[in-house]
């Protein structure tokens, strides 16, 4: 299995609170992705990164920001959490020479 960890694994927070989710990889892969999973929607892309300090928006990026200051870490921030951001968040990684993405274990976020 690819070395990908996500922290925290579970979080409950209140509306209006800032939240940061962390994805950490030990594979030195260039590409990293954040997806959210909601019932009836599958997984949808929030943001992705194609290198340190290089990021781009995905399909559902509103209300989220990301940062990647080093290869191994990709942070997802909810500046002011809303109930609509209650979801399971997955990080994924891939390498330039590979067509396959590998996923972290996911973070379940509940916004009350």
């Amino acid at each position: 299995d690819a070395g990908i960890t996500q922290s925290p694994r579970h979080k409950v927070t209140e509306t209006g609170t800032p939240v940061t989710l962390r994805c950490h990889q030990t594979e030195n892969h260039r590409y990293m992705y954040w997806y959210r999973q909601d019932p009836g929607h599958g997984l949808r892309l929030i943001h992705y990164s194609y290198g340190v300090k290089d990021t781009d928006k995905g399909e559902v990026s509103d209300g989220y920001s990301v940062s990647r200051s080093k290869t191994e870490d990709f942070l997802l921030t909810l500046e002011s959490a809303t109930s609509s951001q209650t979801s399971v968040y997955f990080c994924a990684i891939s390498e330039h020479s590979s067509d396959t993405q590998y996923f972290g274990p996911g973070t379940r976020l509940t916004v009350l």
Binding site: G42, L45, G58, A92, E95, S98, D99, F103, P105, G106
Partner: protein, 114 residues
């Protein structure tokens, strides 16, 4: 934009039998990749099988095989000799070029009946 459609929200199969999960996609690209991921109750996303569009031969991985029909834009997953451990949510996914983000279908929940 590319889209992926899984028309079967739920499926069930008897243990040891064969089941086929459907997936269709829409793209104007000629070169792309298709994937099936399995998500068991543990929530981990597990790659089951992948297909490169330029390869005519259907991919197989042990009891899992695909029927890739490029002209019809169809990519179905066949699970043979179904086992209780196959019970999971299955997602079909597409990507147009190396390291572009995946586009997922909404998933099919597979139940295996003992």
């Amino acid at each position: 934009a590319q889209t992926v459609t899984q028309s079967q929200p739920e499926m069930s199969v008897q243990e040891a039998e064969t089941v086929t999960l459907s997936c269709t996609y829409d793209t104007s690209e000629s070169d792309y990749y298709l994937f099936w991921y399995k998500q068991p109750p543990s929530r981990q996303m597990i790659l089951v099988i992948r297909q490169e569009a330029y390869k005519q031969q259907n991919a197989t991985e042990n009891r899992f095989s695909v029927n890739f029909q490029k002209a019809a834009k169809s990519f179905s997953l066949k699970i043979s000799d179904s086992q209780l451990g196959d019970a999971a949510m299955y997602f079909c996914a597409y990507r147009s070029a190396r390291n572009t983000p995946l586009v997922f279908g909404k998933g099919t929940r597979l139940s295996v009946i003992a």
